[in-house]
């Protein structure tokens, strides 16, 4: 209990004084996570819509694999990305290991199946509602996908937020590929892990409270901007 109250006090103090280290870590967390979610969404949303409107023999298997990949172990992803980006790996020449870019790559791999799977579930229902109308209007597949993405945007926002939630709370993969280097790749989750390891529980809890508050504020801001809960909306 003492650690919790101390952690809360620590969090309030650091936020109130705009502690430079906290601001730095928080901004890096946001930069890495938002970039990863934007890239993952750009891949996953059209993929989910394409799977909803396309029939092919392996479709069920692709969806099953996509659903299974939602539970992709981050540590394994981190390890694979590490091997690929290490000096002896195929992309070692790019020199990306232990950079925010490597962390973004790992998060994109982790989050894309999650967003695609949730998007597919939502758009599959919308497609069954729109199917006859869009066929009757002689739409192309590209138009169908665009229509589902636009009309299903509120459900897709939830998919993106789920992806954001998973990415910002992720620690295993980005610890491996980022290395938790001070002023370079340290983010909120890796900082919490570090401070916990050092036995500095109040600071770790303080960072944890900042992380939770950040996630809640961002979710509320996006819901407010997109007016998802406004009455009389479709």
């Amino acid at each position: 209990m003492n650690d919790l109250s101390q952690g809360l006090a620590e969090a309030i103090y650091r936020v109130a004084t705009l502690d430079p280290e906290l601001v730095n870590i928080t901004l890096r967390s946001l930069q890495v996570t938002v970039t990863a979610v934007v890239i993952a969404s750009a891949i996953a949303l059209p993929l989910g819509a394409w799977l909803a409107v396309t029939r092919f023999w392996a479709r069920r298997y692709v969806i099953a694999v996509l659903n299974a990949l939602m539970g992709l172990p981050p540590v394994v992803v981190g390890l694979i990305v590490y091997v690929m980006l290490s000096r002896s790996g195929p992309f070692g020449v790019l020199g990306l290991l232990f950079t925010p870019t490597a962390m973004i790559i790992a998060q994109v791999i982790i989050v894309t199946p999650l967003i695609a799977s949730i998007a597919h579930q939502a758009l599959r229902d919308l497609w069954s509602e729109y199917h006859d109308l869009l066929i009757s209007l002689n739409t192309t597949k590209r138009q169908r996908i665009a229509t589902l993405l636009w009309d299903g945007r509120r459900a897709l926002l939830t998919a993106c937020l789920a992806g954001f939630g998973r990415a910002i709370g992720e620690v295993g993969a980005i610890m491996i590929v980022g290395g938790n280097i001070d002023n370079a790749t340290r983010v909120l989750t890796t900082a919490i892990a570090l401070e916990t390891g050092k036995g500095n529980f109040s600071l770790a809890l303080g960072l944890g409270f900042v992380l939770i508050t950040l996630a809640i504020i961002l979710n509320l801001a996006i819901h407010s901007l997109s007016r998802t809960e406004r009455s009389n909306l479709w």
């Binding site: 109308l133 009757s136 009309d151 479709w234």
Partner: protein
């Protein structure tokens, strides 16, 4: 037409005149909707073909379909109607302008910016009709467009259909409302158990039906 090996309708051998309003009559489950969907290309015939006096690949471009339960897109009334034009390549501003004209024409001028999903049943049907008409189809299919509507909404829709027919649009409409069939039909297709049981001019069908089943149906008896 078959689904999972079960024959739903047919065999059907049918010719339609180039203009007029054909009413597809029949009890529930007689195959009215299936016939319309088959004609419009929403279903494929198990054997045989559906041919129109226009290139097959373009046939659906010149047709429009109003469903019994209209699909309301998650958009405003104007955008819902405009969508039918934008997918044909029209610019959004032009499509919206045209959509507003058609919305006003069907009596939706007061709800242009309202979400389509919150409209009443009659308004939804009018929206579906406007969305179909804005494409200026040569052939308009309607699947029981006035089911569940009150007398006033039915009359408004029938007025619009009469205007559209007068402008030369070929209309094929399914209904089980005998009164509506009498008011609108130029000719009648009477469906029963998936086949066209009788096809004749409206006057002849209602005055002297050729089959006993049609006679019983017109007499208000339950036919299956």
């Amino acid at each position: 037409m078959k689904r999972r090996g079960v024959q739903l309708i047919g065999p059907i051998n049918l010719d339609l005149e180039a203009d007029g309003l054909t009413i597809v009559l029949g009890p529930n489950g007689s195959g009215k909707t299936s016939l319309l969907r088959l004609m419009h290309g929403l279903e494929r015939p198990a054997t045989g073909t559906v041919n129109w006096a226009m290139p097959d690949s373009n046939a659906r471009m010149h047709q429009a379909y109003v469903f019994q339960t209209p699909t309301m897109m998650r958009r405003s009334v104007t955008d819902c109607i405009a969508y039918a034009l934008t997918v044909m390549g029209a610019k959004r501003a032009d499509a919206r302008r045209g959509a507003q004209d058609y919305a006003k024409r069907v009596g939706l001028g007061h709800v242009l910016d309202r979400p389509a999903g919150v409209l009443s049943g009659g308004e939804k049907q009018k929206l579906a009709l406007a969305r179909a008409l804005i494409r200026q189809p040569q052939i308009l299919f309607l699947d029981e467009p006035c089911a569940n509507l009150d007398g006033r909404a039915t009359r408004e829709i029938e007025t619009i259909l009469s205007e559209v027919r007068a402008q030369g649009t070929r209309i094929v409409m399914a209904t089980h409302d005998l009164g509506q069939a009498r008011r609108l039909a130029d000719d009648v297709l009477f469906m029963l158990s998936g086949v066209v049981h009788e096809q004749s001019a409206a006057g002849q069908f209602f005055a002297t039906p050729q089959t006993a089943t049609a006679k019983a149906f017109l007499g208000g008896q339950i036919v299956e």
